[in-house]
Amino acid sequence: MSELKLMKGNEALAEAAIRAGVDAYFGYPITPQTEIIEYLMTARPENRTGMVVLQAESEIAAINMVYGAASTGKKAMTSSSSPGISLKLEGISYLAGAELPAVIVNVVRGGPGLGTIQPSQADYFQSVKGGGHGDYKLYVLAPASVQEMADFVEDAFDIAFKYRAPVLILSDGLIGQMMEKVILKDQKPRLTDAELIEKQGNWAVTGKKGRERNIITSLDLQSERMEARVHRLQKKYAQMEQEDLRFEKINCDDADYLIVAYGSSARISQKAVELARAKGIKVGLLRPITLFPFPKQALFELANQVKGILSVELNAGQMVEDVRLSVEHKIPVEHFGRTGGIIHTPEEIVAALEQKIINNGSFRHHKTRESSIL
């Protein structure tokens, strides 16, 4: 029976993992996401579903544990925050190269370096442009609510196993720490070993019973074979763009201007849209739910309708580049965003929209833009 609860984003994600039939979670403490492993250690899911929960000696060990369990076809995940994700990037690249299904959660905090523990969206490039080494991308889901923190665990594993690829849930300290109502689904049973071997036995290393042995590796010293492997990955990403793009349009039908924002910035921008419309400025919001695949086509079409776009992100300007690419510079696209862990307010967003887009007559198309946060 699904349950209505009031939970923190991090805890909702942890409970949802248990209910989604996840086989193993490997974690390591780092603010602002430590509640995930704390919740799992308290819930002791090994007694409920047999799920393994282990605190590793480092984020590096944790991602390699995910790699180990994923090699055997098990549903394995880890979570961390920005600096911890940087430590995991080699492992993530291995997951992509070895074509292993896995879920990684990044509850982003201010950076670079030790940065701050307050929320941020400054890991956009790291998440969407691969982050680790090599020609790979991550399918990136960006939750904007506690409900999505819960729902996206199962969604992420569905994509991970559909494509045999690592999937990233890109949250942030605000979504992770705040409490909201959340509807939790019924318990989905974990696969038995026999069911798993039947489903994944053709590739997973479960012990070569009744078949030739399997190998999991991302190594290919023969260039022709490595190229074939790289092309196989790119085909997956193209298919993701075809079949699994997710985004949401709010108040866009009559919009003269557009805000593009994901996660916590999207929540705040909804209020900004209200405030602007109250002042007679017809602005809409496009919320990417997947950051890769990115809603390029939708933006390209909206660029024929609106006069300018403001990319609102808690960083110094990252997604704004992808928005510009999507609209091919047909119309002005500017960035606004507080950094350092400060959360921008709806009023600040409306002011930025007016100052940078609406009142800014000159369309500085080709001129180099001075930094958007000065």
């Binding site: 086989d23 390699n64 790699y67 369990a69 394995a76 479960t206 012990g207 042995r213 190998i215 590796t217």
Partner: protein, 258 residues
């Protein structure tokens, strides 16, 4: 009696294990890795557990181990095999899981993973091939490179003052309660190989009985790294490595050998 009469199939008393593939080994001529790869597969074959064994190959000379070992294997990032193996053994408690790692992999970049997998007493076997050098990358100094031993990154010999002394990682982890059995071996003579084989079998027995972590260090020559012929290298190993890394049991059934 003619040789042809002797070499009839029914008279065969030794040959390559069927659990090794036909791929020629990538190891340099006379390298201990080859002997170790074969010996481990011989034991797994004799114990009849190949269908329930999953191996974890690291980065290093043995990164291609899965081309030679005909069992399910996964390749781990440099130093991370103990973590990869931990997750396999935790999600498949009935399987035999082993890692096969070199000294750079296990005692340099993977030190933390080694110590913590041992400290958790994971029910698996760690094979540690110690040849005192980074072989795959062409002979650089490793954590177990001996004092005065030359390498491409200690061209004038290892200096304790600036490079620290060779790391006795095996003695280090032997002190961790989770570690059930620890022994150090070599494979350059038939006597040493037979002794090592007994230890390898015991290690997988420990896994079957869920006794916790079994750790087997195997000293080996590195002919290209040390720039010696295989037999000279083996002699050098006996004269120089054995005193610093003494062979034998270090921990038996959870108790340190005094």
């Amino acid at each position: 009696m003619e040789v042809l009469d002797i070499i009839k199939p029914e008279n065969q008393v030794f040959c390559k294990s069927q659990l090794m593939t036909d791929t020629p080994l990538s190891y340099c001529p006379g390298c201990g890795h080859g002997t170790a790869n074969n010996l481990i597969m011989e034991v797994i074959d004799e114990m009849g557990i190949s269908e329930d064994t999953i191996g974890v190959a690291p980065v290093g000379c043995s990164v291609l181990a899965y081309d030679f070992m005909n069992i399910d294997m996964t390749q781990a990032a440099h130093g991370r095999a103990p973590a990869v193996a931990t997750a396999i053994v935790r999600t498949w408690p009935e399987k035999y899981v082993f890692t096969y790692q070199g000294d750079g992999d296990l005692a340099a970049i993977g030190t933390a993973e080694t110590i913590h997998a041992c400290n958790r007493g994971e029910n698996m076997v760690i094979f540690f091939i110690n040849n005192g050098i980074y072989g795959m990358t062409g002979g650089q100094m490793a954590p177990t490179t001996l004092e005065g031993m030359k390498s491409s990154t200690s061209p004038y010999g290892r200096e304790i003052a600036t490079m620290g002394s060779p790391l006795k990682i095996t003695e280090l982890i032997a002190n961790l309660p989770g570690v059930y059995s620890v022994s150090r071996h070599a494979l350059h003579t038939h006597k040493h190989v037979r002794k090592a084989k007994i230890a390898i079998r015991q290690a997988f027995e420990n896994t079957r009985l869920k006794k916790g972590l079994s750790f087997i260090e195997i000293l080996s020559n590195c002919n290209s790294g040390w720039k010696m012929t295989p037999n000279d290298a083996n002699e050098w190993m006996v004269e120089n490595m054995f005193p610093y890394f003494p062979l034998g049991d270090i921990k038996v059934e959870g108790k340190l050998k005094v």
